[in-house]
């Protein structure tokens, strides 16, 4: 059952474009999917190591800009009159660079702030996101600033012998997001259900005790930060090539808040949590649109969040697991195989 559920979920998601033809709703599915990937990445840090990154959108935005600029090319002049010209590269290289550069940023932010953790990490991540947003806004020569980067090429799918297929359509992008999402899920799942994940949970639970059994706490914090940032960068790249236009608003604090809400309501420290939370909060605006004004939509959003957090403080997924008595040994919250 436990093994079957993720497979069934993937099949169910994969069937969506077959029966859902409304472009507005399909668009909502794609963007929700992208945000779910971002929320999954945040969950690795927040749910497993217990570190709250309130600037997580920085990695998302960096991924978006790196990928867009790599595929669009640029021509800028640095200090001292050095001219840097970059010819457009294929989109997939942009995607890879987005992952790598976001990961490097995660490493740097982690190195900077993990000496002193907790509140300090929160502040460093917020500041980092703000700095990156200001760079995107003001380095007009590179980023076009508030004028936005436009005409970003879509992802292409190379078909052997047949040339290339541009992934313009919503359905095509949906499958792309689903595929990347599955890969990210598998990476996070393998990490967290191994001794790496146990080390992360240990340092969240009781750092002195973790250290006393020989866990190199900093190493696992950095590993979590890098992986988390890299996956957020991947989500950002998907976002840029799907919308095909990005401006400094991708660094909005509201996006980080959305990810945090998705993780906490769904259940932090669970694999399914960000997906469940993401589905709920990704589709509220869609559902609410039919009967509520934009202002009251936000009220509904907030009210639902508070309700969930009050009724199910650990989130929806842990509550369901307790209800059905299924618990995952490797997520460390309870039962195990019968003792030998």
């Amino acid at each position: 059952m436990r093994r079957l559920l993720p497979l069934l979920a993937v099949l169910a998601f994969a069937s969506i474009p077959l029966w859902l033809k409304d472009p507005y709703l399909l668009n909502a599915c794609v963007t929700t999917g992208i945000f779910i990937i971002a929320a999954m990445s945040l969950n690795l840090l927040l749910g497993y190591t217990g570190q709250l990154s309130l600037g997580h959108v920085a990695f998302f935005g960096i991924g978006a800009y790196v990928s867009a600029l790599t595929s669009l090319g640029f021509d800028i002049e640095l200090f001292g009159g050095i001219r840097v010209v970059h010819e457009p590269w294929p989109v997939w290289i942009g995607f890879v660079l987005a992952v790598i550069i976001a990961g490097i940023c995660g490493y740097l932010v982690g190195k900077l702030s993990f000496r002193v953790r907790g509140a300090y990490f929160v502040i460093v991540t917020i500041s980092f996101a703000e700095v990156v947003r200001l760079v995107a806004l003001n380095w007009v020569e590179l980023t076009q600033g508030p004028l936005a980067l436009t005409s970003i090429p879509p992802f292409t799918l190379g078909l052997p012998g047949l040339g290339y297929l541009d992934l313009y359509g919503k359905a095509a992008n949906f499958y792309l997001v689903l595929a990347i999402g599955v890969v990210c899920y598998v990476i996070i799942s393998r990490l967290t259900r191994s001794r790496v994940g146990r080390a992360m949970v240990a340092l969240k639970e009781n750092e002195s005790l973790a250290v006393s059994v020989g866990i190199d706490v900093t190493r696992y914090l950095i590993l979590a930060a890098v992986t988390s940032a890299a996956i957020a960068g991947a989500a950002g790249s998907l976002y840029a090539h799907y919308l095909r236009i990005i401006d400094p608003d991708v660094f909005m604090f509201l996006y980080t808040v959305t990810m945090v809400i998705m993780v906490i309501t769904g259940g932090k420290g669970t694999l399914a949590g960000p997906i469940v939370g993401g589905l709920i909060f990704g589709f509220i605006p869609v559902v609410a649109r039919s009967f509520a004004s934009p202002e009251s939509q936000w009220i509904l959003y907030g009210a639902l969040m508070i309700l969930i957090v009050f009724v199910l403080p650990q989130g929806i997924v842990p509550a369901i697991e307790r209800w059905f008595g299924v618990v995952d040994e490797n997520e460390g919250r309870a039962k195990l195989e019968p003792a030998k």
Partner: protein
């Protein structure tokens, strides 16, 4: 057995120092927690460090295991200076501690606690994990087997599936020892392991300790339970006001007037006369 036993250290015990605490001093601002501490623990020995509350015993543990840096002095383990090593590196050398306050990973199962403690014994690399290679499965299986053995050894096997925070006080203390054992110690530092335990829990703990000593694990014990200390120690060192005031076998310590004065109190004086 998976608890590693240093080769060739079976009885009779040779007097080879495993741990050397060399003229340690610790100052907290103006407060001198330890003024000058100097003692050895021999391979395979059970050495008790006793002294009244505030004498500096826990501070000494924190220094030895790298949680605090000494103001002066050096600690050596099997010839290696521990100066500048991080606590997890010291654990890697086989020197593992428990905490005076109950310390387990509260919200995860007893079994997962020990699995977490086995961290350094895992043999799979990050790539093995990410790609789910056979090495990963093999290593995890070994760890699970070892976890069961350790739980059996300390006697909390029957609670393996329960959340650690739901265990009785005594079982949590035993789990604390299981966690330390999981880290594969050649020397174990126990900080008041039976304080707060009832008589039967204490007896259970004594049995575990005896097994460990039989396996050749060197033990440094801080404890206030005098019958236990006198019964199990090969040697006792006594601390008061941040320095050592006595060093010797249990019988000598029991009769030492300075120790009786400083620590054991009137009742013990009477016992010592008997």
């Amino acid at each position: 057995m998976t608890i590693s036993t240093p080769a060739g250290l079976a009885a009779p015990k040779p007097r080879v120092p495993a741990l050397s605490v060399e003229h340690i001093a610790v100052h907290f601002g103006g407060l001198v927690a330890i003024s000058d501490l100097n003692f050895d623990v021999n391979e395979g020995e059970v050495l008790s460090l006793i002294g009244p509350n505030g004498a500096g015993k826990t501070t000494a543990f924190n220094i030895i295991t790298g949680f605090l840096k000494p103001t002066k002095g050096t600690v050596r383990y099997r010839g290696t200076s521990l100066n500048g090593l991080k606590p997890h590196e010291i654990t890697g050398l086989g020197l593992v501690r428990t905490f005076q306050r109950t310390s387990v990973f509260q919200t995860i199962s007893v079994f997962q606690n020990v699995m977490t403690g086995l961290h350094r014994r895992g043999r799979s690399s990050l790539w093995d994990t990410l790609l789910a290679l056979p090495q990963e499965r093999q290593s995890e299986k070994e760890l699970r087997d070892t976890a069961h053995e350790i739980l059996k050894l300390v006697g909390v096997e029957h609670r393996a599936a329960d959340i650690a925070g739901s265990l009785s006080y005594g079982d949590q203390r035993l789990l604390g020892v299981a966690l330390a054992l999981a880290a594969n110690p050649t020397m174990l530092l126990l900080d008041e392991p039976v304080s707060g335990m009832n008589a039967s829990e204490t007896a259970a703990f004594m049995r575990v300790l005896t097994k460990l000593r039989g396996m050749g694990v060197t033990i440094l014990l801080v404890e206030h339970d005098m019958p236990m200390v006198m019964g199990i120690s090969d040697r006792i060192v006594v601390m008061n006001y941040g320095r050592l005031i006595a060093d010797g076998p249990p019988a000598a310590i029991q009769g030492n007037p300075e120790v009786i004065q400083a620590y054991l109190g009137v009742g013990a004086k009477k016992r010592a006369r008997d």
